[in-house]
Symmetry: C2
Subunit: 266 residues, 2 copies
């Protein structure tokens, strides 16, 4: 089952949608956060009648398990260019998995605005010279088999117990089997890479996400997406992870920040 099917939502009535956490989109039994946020983004898009999730914020409240989801959503304001909606995702037992607030638009409409970039594209060897992360070394990561991920060799050495010492994770992403990528795919990409903290020599084993905000600026064109994740501040029990995504044409298409916890490893 591809990404579009695995994130499909079905409208039940004006304010209720059904969806399913499909098997295989998990890390150690818990659905990947970007996957859950992508499902929520499809609900926001459907609720607002605007196809592209420009800004989506999710607060992760309980782990997502394989099985049915019920998503309640309401439009807060439908403006000319953007429409804003909120959603609450619950699992089959009624537990709240995710609370969401977001704005959608139609990014195919023309924009007249100046452009200026003060950042470097991440330098990456071609995908075939990058590292396909093996799964199941530390814990089962079935999710990594649902997507195509290739890590920069410098950032992948943590897999062999040699973290780079830089809280940086760069690499390529695409969907499997040449499945086309839409704006919602970018929400998934922005939480698909191993945590940057794996490359720091710190006693932190896991970093649960409190909140993830994704910004999509344009629909991606082509296949491999060029991605960079970076952390600057690991302080007071928190870290931020900033994501940036360019499409195959070299266009900057998406950006994210998540706030995660950094509990000391036992």
């Amino acid at each position: 089952m591809g990404f579009a099917d695995a994130t499909a939502v079905r409208r039940r009535d004006d304010t209720t949608w059904d969806a399913d956490v499909q098997p295989g989109w998990d890390i150690n039994g818990n659905a990947n956060g970007g996957y859950l946020l992508a499902i929520a983004a499809r609900v926001l898009a459907d609720a607002t009648g605007r196809p592209d999730p420009v800004s989506v914020t999710g607060h992760f409240l309980s782990p997502g398990k394989v099985g049915p989801l019920v998503i309640a959503a309401e439009v807060v304001k439908a403006g000319k260019r953007f429409a804003t909606a909120r959603a609450t995702m619950r699992d089959g037992e009624g537990r709240t998995v995710l609370a969401v607030l977001g704005a959608c638009a139609d990014l195919s409409l023309p924009v007249d605005a100046p452009e200026r970039i003060d950042a470097e594209l991440p330098e990456l060897p071609p995908p075939e010279a990058c590292v396909r992360e093996p799964t199941g070394e530390l814990m089962p990561v079935p999710f990594r088999d649902r997507i195509e991920l290739r890590l920069h060799p410098d950032d992948a050495a943590y897999l062999h117990g040699r973290p780079s010492g830089r809280t940086l994770m760069r690499g390529w992403f695409r969907l499997r089997d040449d499945e086309p990528m839409d704006a919602v795919t970018l929400v998934q990409v922005l939480d698909a890479f191993p945590p940057t903290i794996f490359n720091a020599d710190l006693p932190v084993a896991w970093t649960p996400t409190v909140e993830l905000t994704t910004h999509v600026r344009a629909r991606p064109v082509g296949d491999w997406l060029r991605c960079r994740f970076r952390t600057r501040y690991v302080t007071a029990g928190f870290l931020e992870e900033d994501g940036e995504v360019w499409d195959a044409t070299g266009r900057f298409v998406a950006q994210s920040r998540q706030l995660a916890l950094t509990p000391r490893a036992a």
Copy 2:
């Protein structure tokens, strides 16, 4: 009237709060976004019973005008460490001004976690050698008289028609009359500086905020806050503005990102 009074909220019932947009907290007649988000943060804190707004996301839907506000809020989940709530702020005419989703906690509790910073403190001359932004040059900015702001001289030359060419804005912030600063003050600080775009030589005159997310890691200690705002990507009609704040003890206390629009100046 100080910041605490100007952002005070009064609980009316389980799910409703009253507040007021006070005169003088506006830019050209519209309340400053950080000021509105700070009012919403006080509601989140009161609704959850946790004093500190750790992560707050606001979507700005209509301008805030001087006068009464009614804020509806509900707790989505009250966990052990964090409690998550959402809020909707409406003005006296019932227009939705702001939709909010956030998590609060008690940041006075001890944390056992490793620390690591991969960034430089912004280098700033002392406050008395920085530039107090004059108000009313391009448009009335009464808000700047409600707070104490001092800009890095290199980033303030835009005031005399010489933008630095870097989408960067650094400076000091404190409340007036030695008013103590709490965690909610940081929400205000993160949208108190002139837009970074004023230092770019681009035909952009105003940048309405679509969404602002603030992260507070610690309560500030001391008076002057050291602040840096930076923009890397002005593309597709959008820009992000990333904020970072350190307190007078040199501790990293808060971070933000906003997504704003960059319409071409007429």
